[in-house]
Amino acid sequence: MNLKQESNTPIYIQIAEWIENEIIADQLLENGKVFSQYQLAEMFNINPATAGKGLAILLENGILYKKRGLGMFVQEGSKELILSKRHNEKLSNLAKEIVEEAKRLFVSDSELIELIKKIQREG
Amino acid sequence: MMSLNEISFSQIVLNQVKWKMKAYSQSIIILILIQITVSILFSGGNITMGGGFNEVNINIHYYTLDSYIILSCIWALVIAILMQTNGYRHDDYAVITTRYTASLANVIVLFVYSFIATIISFMTLYILIALIQVVGNIAVMKEYTLFEFVHFGLAFFIILLAASIGYLIGSIFKLSKGLGILMVVLAVIFTAILNVQPEALLVNFFFNTGYLSFMLKALFTCILLFVSSIFILSRKEVNRR
């Protein structure tokens, strides 16, 4: 992965997202050990503290858990957690766009819901 | 997180002495070369006397240690001054150092070098005389026993004095070039105008009361001069330009 130093996303979040991608791709397995902040620092050529922040975010969000003295491990069920989170985000972003577009085209709320129901029935 | 290094003062001084001796080793070689050159120049002796009577001619050549000691003094003075010039920056190497450790190490190095210089001076004379005996097949008479500790001590302290004066001069110049030049100018004016020869006073003070007393006075003076230099240098910031 190419880290972008110049981005609207802080680096530690890019690291966190990369780890999430690895989990989804089954490169990191549940209850398996995750890279330490030092390993990540070496891999991506960044400061260990920055890598550490990324791990901390994942810990906070329940994607990883800590075993005293042993390091960070992937939480059970984190793959599903990540997938659903991303689906939700994507979906809600798409939904926002539909709602805004509908407003711009002067389509009312009830008309919009009818349209969605129609598509769901067809699909 | 790793713990702090705790290195003793003496350990650092010893390390500095070890490496500064190595760094400055070429100056010993220079001394040896100078001594050899001078011994060749003076191979006819420092003073010659001659006389004759009927068909008998006697030529007496005196060989003394003087010229070698004086040479060593000049050498010691110069290296003590040079030690502190920007060319050598002996005080500011990129190793663990503080003003006190660096100055003390320099003083110890000068002590050792003065000792070595004394040995070299004696050796040069002895080798010269030995060569003359062997090659020239000339009879040699000695005024004293070949080696007397007292002579060695005298010579050592004279050279050490020269070194300590040089170090003090160097440190004054390092403190402030202006001050150094001022002092030299004042010294010259002092001797010229007042028509007093401070050398005479000094010689009187030092040499009038016997060997042992001289050595003690010399030692005391050297310590005084060195301590003054250390004090002068102790407040100085590091300036590597």
Binding site: E42, N47 | N5, I7, I12, K22, R89, I96, T98
Partner: protein
């Protein structure tokens, strides 16, 4: 380990013959961080590092390192390594002699690593230090500094004179050494973009004072560039500090603080929100006018 200040400066002032290089400088640097000291030429970076290393005395104010004043101090001298262009070694020593000397002085000296790094940099062990080229000297000085593994390592523009490829390698060497043996490292530079990926914190110095001291992430996310319609942007940013402003035929752009704007809102108004690099942030915070060099040509 976290949060313990190791170096503290309080209202430090340094004058050289009536020229004030540093004034009212106050900062505190925690143990074990790899920080960058950033500033333009003449901002006071070298002077500050020399004060921390105990090479200079402050004219006013206080500096404490490990709780003590570092000037002429054996304890601090034993634990601080100061790498700078003017580092002196005994003349006529070869680089290997210098390493052997370092082995005697520094308890943590990494002799094998130093030799391997020297070899990697293509500097022969029997080379004389004074015969090295400028780039080789800088490389050697940095290797010397890293191999000593001193608790505080101050590197003053260590990459000066090095060509680009060895520079990248040396930055990586600093990172690897930092990971292998964590210590407090401060690297001063006026090229932040080269090394920002290594840093945990940025200390920005300008005109002898600390303008900014924050984590790398904070600095990277501090400002944004807005591009779009001039009137819209001017209206939106009327109550904000503008760090940079540029107007030409097709664009209008300003740089403001990220936390003052609502990105989603601006996107709906067709205003582009672009990131600003840490290096640019430092530049904007220390520049004279808002237009950059273009101001000179107005």
């Amino acid at each position: 380990m976290i949060g313990v200040p190791e170096i503290i400066c309080h209202q430090v002032e340094k004058r050289y013959r009536n020229k004030r290089v540093l004034h009212s400088l106050t900062c505190s640097i925690n143990k074990g961080k790899l920080s960058g000291l950033i500033g333009r030429n003449g901002a006071g970076k070298s002077t500050l590092l020399k004060l921390l290393a105990g090479h200079l005395k402050p004219t006013n104010g206080e500096i404490t390192v490990f709780g003590e004043c570092p000037f002429n101090n054996l304890k601090t001298a034993s634990n601080i390594m100061f790498v700078e262009e003017g580092m002196t070694f005994p003349p006529l020593f070869t680089v290997l002699d210098i390493f052997k000397m370092a082995k005697d002085f520094y308890p943590n000296w990494q002799h094998e690593l130093a030799k391997r790094l020297l070899d990697y940099a293509n500097i022969p062990t029997n080379a004389f230090h004074h015969n090295l080229s400028k780039g080789q000297k800088s490389t050697f000085n940095l290797i010397y500094g890293l191999a000593s593994r001193c608790t505080i390592s101050l590197l003053d523009e260590p990459m000066n004179g090095m060509d680009e490829s060895i520079r990248t390698d040396m930055y990586r060497a600093i990172l690897k050494e930092y990971i292998a043996y964590p210590r407090t490292i401060i690297i001063s530079s006026h090229h932040l973009n080269e090394m920002e990926h290594l840093l945990e914190e940025i200390i920005l110095i300008d005109n002898g004072q600390i303008k900014l001291h924050a984590s790398l992430d904070d600095v990277q996310q501090m400002l944004v560039r807005l591009r779009g319609d001039i009137n819209l942007i001017r209206k939106l940013t009327s109550d904000m500090e503008v760090f940079f402003e540029k107007e030409d035929l097709f664009h209008y752009e300003v740089v403001v603080e990220r936390n003052k704007i609502d990105e989603k809102l601006l996107q709906t108004m067709n205003i582009l929100v672009q990131p600003v690099t840490a290096s640019e942030v430092c530049k904007f915070m220390t520049s004279k006018g808002k237009g950059g060099i273009d101001d000179v040509f107005k």
